[in-house]
Symmetry: none
DNA sequence: AATGAATGAGACTTCATTCAT
DNA sequence: TATGAATGAAGTCTCATTCAT
């Protein structure tokens, strides 16, 4: 065997190994997200997560040193999703951007109830705060704030405080996530229709135009 | 001592005793709310709550049979606050009603961070769900929905789904509570100004009137 | 007031006081016997005993310094009952003595289930052992043993070991107490009939006389 | 590795694991029986049982979910012993059957003082009642009753109530167990001799034959 | 690399006993 | 003397984490 072949083999093996490790981690994060979502962080047990992932508890701790690292991993994955969502709506009109971002959140919220988890744990753990608040929430808020600021300056939107309005639009979405998790239904509306309806009210208000 | 005097004494003693018990319970609920708010329900320990209330752990359990009863007590107290809030805005115009309800929530949210606590635990405990979701949240939503419905029928508001709009307005308030708890400030605005600004956007929208 | 009158008053008061104290103690022992009988010593709480006696827990501890003293008091009362029983059968024939002692035990056993309590606690507490084993059980066994020894020497009874036979007769009575407490009924027979039947077997055996 | 080898290995491992688990459970039950026997159920602590079994307290709870399950396990093991005892005397004559059953109980009673434990706890726990009363005591009583009934009908035994006589013979054995546990010795007699002596009295009575 | 039994710190809860009123 | 609230030691049980196989 030449040195080159050895190197290739090594790289090859390394890569396969890394892929296997990544797959295991993903499988465990998936299980963790599921169980955290059902029970909350504290009541979820590593035993249950391992069982759901169909591995032993020992194996779980080979991939994540602590239970908290699982939570951080779940938060990180969520932040990545959000980043992708923001990326995907960059080209849209403001109205469509709002409607799609909201629809995305609503869809994710229905799939998995993680809002309260992140809310709860962000205050207790710096890493979760980093991923959920800094790398997800603030990205959305800042993106909205900038677009809004430009539209206000252009006279398209009313001269409200763009920071406040951006936070308000995010707050509404978060509040709906909370309502979902509390089992308070908002009809059987699809995420898309709901996103559009909410955006409509944010942009045009509830008051009848004739009164303005 | 006459029979009458005995009866009075008895009643008197009873009342004093009841007052003492009520005061102790309030003191313990106050401590529980504080610690739950800081740590979350699971991470809060009865030891810590007792210490904060400056009594022994044994005393705590003389007043509340389980840790969970403390949580239920805190939720009950919150539901009572909300009921009083709703009562107090019954006579106001819709706009003032919205602004004041929101301002009240914002004020409470700043005092004590219990939103995530109730959100989290409502899914795990029927009693908390009863007090937080049924006796607080739904009261607000239903009150808003009815007022809104009437205004839509009167042509004052646009013909949107009143159920959805009522939930949306509640969601926004809840979302702000979440933002507070995450430490995402919305300026140093007072609860009243914030309530007014949010109500303004809900009613009139962001879009400039000239575009309508 | 003369010295003599003072003394009388003192004595008088003392006596009344002593009577009141004795009555209170009896009332508490009665309650303790009841609750111990239902729950066993460990599971019985001083709270429950006090409630059953219709006094406060504090009062209970004014009359008995520890929970264990209540148990000792109950054992003492039992030993006194047994001593009276033995006294009352001294003049009877051996057969009647046996039958009546057994009947007395059966009657007491039905009234109150204390056998297992004494059995259990005699091993753990020297005072209970003193009253139950030394002052009750052994008195009966010794009385039986002596009568039996005389009857054997007189040729009325077979030449068995009188110590063993006396213990056996006591054992049978105790075993029936155990069966009562386990809810294993022995028909609806009266204590007297049961005592007579057991004594008959002890004296005459099960085997048919014609076989002897 | 062939599929067959894999299967064998699996079975092999499974079996070894099951054996290890069974051994641990037996070891813990042994420790529990010892400590319960010394202290009684309530005063026995899981800490002490674990220490006696030479494992940590956590390990104990890996094998028995609650302290009470340990008690149930001990009762179950006892019921099994009794069932084996009954089985082993089926072929004997009535006299030998009685003598051997009694001797077995006496032997077990000397080894371990569990009588009062079962007596005490049978009233408080349905499972213990099931194993001790239904599956042990009643089995013995019923076996005795039937044999006795047949012998009475055959004229070998006197026409006494067989239910009462069977209970009486069981009661005597139980009473001796109680005497053992109270430290009331019955001489240094061997279990066998004691069983024979007791049976002799039960069958032939104390009264001298010449008197009949 | 995978397993899962063992660990032990720490949680909630109970209850005999004390003591101020 | 009677009361019952306060105490805190001690018990059962949970579960994240370690480690020998």
């Amino acid at each position: 065997m030449t040195q080159k072949e050895e190197l290739m083999l090594e790289t090859d093996t390394s890569t396969r190994r890394e892929r296997r490790i990544a797959a295991r981690k993903a499988q465990l994060l998936e299980a963790a997200a599921h169980v955290f979502s059902q029970k909350g962080y504290e009541k979820a047990t590593t035993k249950e997560i391992a069982e759901y992932a169909d591995v032993s508890e020992g194996t779980l701790f080979n991939y994540f040193a602590t239970k908290r690292e699982l939570l951080i991993g779940v938060a990180k994955a969520y932040a990545n999703e959000v980043a992708a969502d923001i990326e995907s709506v960059q080209g849209e009109s403001f109205e469509d951007m709002l409607a799609q971002l909201a629809a995305n959140r609503f869809r994710r919220g229905r799939e998995r109830r993680l809002f309260m988890l992140f809310l709860y744990e962000s205050r207790l753990n710096a890493d979760v705060h980093q991923y959920y608040v800094q790398e997800a929430l603030h990205q959305i808020i800042d993106a909205l704030e900038q677009r809004l600021k430009a539209l206000i300056e252009a006279g398209v939107m009313r001269p409200v405080d763009p920071a406040l309005a951006a936070r308000m639009m995010s707050a509404t979405t978060m509040g709906f996530a909370a309502l979902f998790e509390l089992g308070i239904s908002v009809g059987t509306t699809s995420p898309e229709k709901l996103g559009a309806a909410v955006t409509d009210i944010h942009l045009n208000g509830l008051r009848n135009g004739s009164e303005k």
